[in-house]
């Protein structure tokens, strides 16, 4: 069955559908942050869409761009066998609504995005760090986080001097 997903989304959310991109056969739709839950519920439950599997949720740090962060949701529809990427841009310090009650899969994925980028998800049932230890400071996948980690910036010779 043929369907035009960006068109369906535009009809339903004219204000929130910001941008539609096609690259290498993949469709990416950028959606406004405020409407995320409504959009996701629509995508999951509308009978022409039925995106029932949340394959992936990924945080992105765009560095100097404004808004700084992004979250990419990759959806798959079992019925129609296609994929769709929904993108949301989040400013530093802002938060967005959780979708962990729409798809349970988002529970851990959102925790990871929070752990790695410091993106907060409102009303998430258990927003804790997942890969890093709980008393860790900083967000490792941010572009301004040093590759070797915060503790390794001191040269070895300086450490030796301090030991004396």
């Amino acid at each position: 069955m043929q369907r035009n997903v960006p068109e369906l989304l535009r009809e339903k959310f004219p204000q929130a559908t910001l941008k539609v991109e096609e690259f290498r056969g993949e469709t990416t739709i950028t959606v406004g942050r405020e409407k995320i839950r409504d959009v996701m519920l629509f995508l999951k439950e509308n009978e022409n869409l039925l995106y029932d599997l949340l394959l992936d949720l990924s945080g992105v740090d765009y560095g100097d761009e404004i808004p700084r962060f992004g979250v990419s949701y990759l959806l798959h529809s079992m019925r129609f066998n296609d994929r769709l990427r929904i993108k949301i841009r989040v400013a530093e310090g802002a938060s967005l609504d959780t979708v962990s009650d729409v798809w349970r899969a988002a529970d851990w994925m959102e925790r990871e995005a929070y752990d790695m980028f410091g993106i907060a998800f409102d009303s998430h049932p258990d927003l804790r760090r997942i890969l890093m230890e709980e008393d860790f400071t900083g967000y490792p996948l941010r572009k301004d986080f040093p590759l070797k980690g915060a503790d390794f910036s001191k040269p070895f010779t300086v450490c030796l001097e301090e030991e004396k």
Binding site: D52, L55, D56, S58, R85, A105, W108, M116, I130, E133
Partner: protein, 391 residues
């Protein structure tokens, strides 16, 4: 008045049945699990962060170390994503060899799974049988790639080199013999009463629940959902091969076991077809001169090829701006790479979609209400590899 109190016990991170460094906090009512909270991250190495500091060719070596039971599948997933970004076509011979390697690797990974899963539940003999066949596969793969654990053999644009003459006869002998070996494992387990009692009706997941939790791979198919990346989004010429996707009915541990065993038979079929139909031709897309280093023979004869080789190895290549996602059906489920390029010679962002991580998210759902001993069975049945979960 009797007071109900739950006991909290800690399982792992150093526990033989957690297949790595997984820690579980179990809240128990007697012997029944009321609540389970997994703690992960003990093996976190920051692979996604490291990839941002390496060129595309260098980042390939990181992928071996994700799911360390199937290095070649990880290589394949990564290369597919980069090749999609570069928009290059891979020659048929390379595609068929990739399929052959990926399926042999799946067999090796499933053999480890059946061995350790059975060992966890007290059936030790299976381990010795399964490791015998795994050894045959690994020796054959070592002949080609030179490594057992970290091959990095599938490269962006094709393969590192062609196969030696002795490889195909070995594989042919193996695929002829292997179905009989699966029968052997089946005589040990399939009708075994203890095995059935430990696995049937334990940690049942319905198809809808699996989809909701994002579970993929054999666990999803054991619940009767027909989803396999090889069929849904065929890659590397999988559409040329004749194979079936085995499904389960109930979605319990026993079904997951049956699905994986049937899957091994199907993989064997695919390998057999790939050996029979392997076309001649180049093993890499040498015409994509901007991205793929020239063949060794060309480098030693042609000065221009030598310079190109040096440039691609030293500086890397600059893919167009954009973002792509490509995935393969690894032995654990859908393994995907989401790569964002800003036009530089290093990935701007490389996100790995690890099947074990997502599948493990469903573990609390699987074990709540079951006995402590079933926790071990449930962990074994999802077939987790912590290298991939923690990245």
């Amino acid at each position: 008045m009797a007071e109900t109190r739950y006991m909290t016990i800690n399982m792992g991170p150093q526990h033989p049945a957690t297949h790595g460094v997984l820690r579980l906090l179990l809240e128990l009512d007697g012997e029944i699990v009321v609540r389970a909270v997994p703690h992960i991250g003990y093996l976190h190495r920051g692979v996604e962060k490291l990839a941002e500091s390496l060129t595309y060719h260098q980042a390939l070596t990181l992928t071996d170390r994700l799911d360390y039971t199937s290095g070649l599948s990880n290589n394949l997933a990564y290369c597919l994503a980069v090749e999609k970004l570069l928009d290059i076509k891979i020659p048929k011979r390379a595609q068929y060899l990739r399929v052959m390697f990926a399926e042999l690797q799946r067999l090796a990974a499933h053999l480890i799974w059946v061995a350790t899963h059975a060992l966890d539940l007290g059936a030790m003999t299976v381990l010795f049988y399964a490791f015998r066949e795994r050894e045959t596969i690994l020796e054959a793969l070592e002949l080609v790639t030179g490594a057992r654990l970290t091959p990095s053999f599938i490269r962006i644009g094709g393969l590192a080199k062609d196969i030696p003459d002795t490889f195909l006869p070995r594989v042919k002998a193996f695929v002829e013999d292997f179905p009989k070996r699966i029968d052997e494992y089946e005589t040990l387990l399939t009708e075994n009463i203890i095995w059935k009692k430990r696995t049937q009706n334990i940690s049942v997941m319905s198809g809808e629940e699996c989809i909701n939790y994002g579970v993929t791979g054999p666990v999803l198919r054991a619940s009767g959902v027909y989803y396999d990346v090889r069929k849904a989004y065929p890659y590397s010429s999988y559409e040329d091969f004749d194979f079936e996707i085995p499904l389960g009915k109930k979605g319990d541990i026993y079904d997951r076991y049956l699905v994986r065993l049937k899957e091994m038979r199907q993989s064997n079929r695919i390998v057999k077809q790939a050996v029979e139909r392997l076309p001649e031709g180049p093993i890499a897309a040498f015409d994509a001169t901007l991205f793929v280093p020239p063949a060794k023979e060309a480098v030693s004869k042609d000065i221009a090829a030598l310079i190109r080789h040096f440039k691609i190895m030293e500086e890397g290549f600059h893919p167009p701006r954009g973002e792509v996602y490509a995935s393969v059906e690894s032995s654990k489920g859908e393994l995907g790479f989401y790569i964002i390029s800003d036009g530089a010679n290093k990935p701007f962002r490389m996100r790995i979609r690890p099947p074990s991580f997502v599948n493990l998210g469903a573990l609390p759902k699987m074990i709540e209400g079951h006995m402590v001993a079933d926790v071990v069975a449930a962990i074994g049945s999802i077939d987790i590899v912590l290298g991939e979960i923690d990245r």
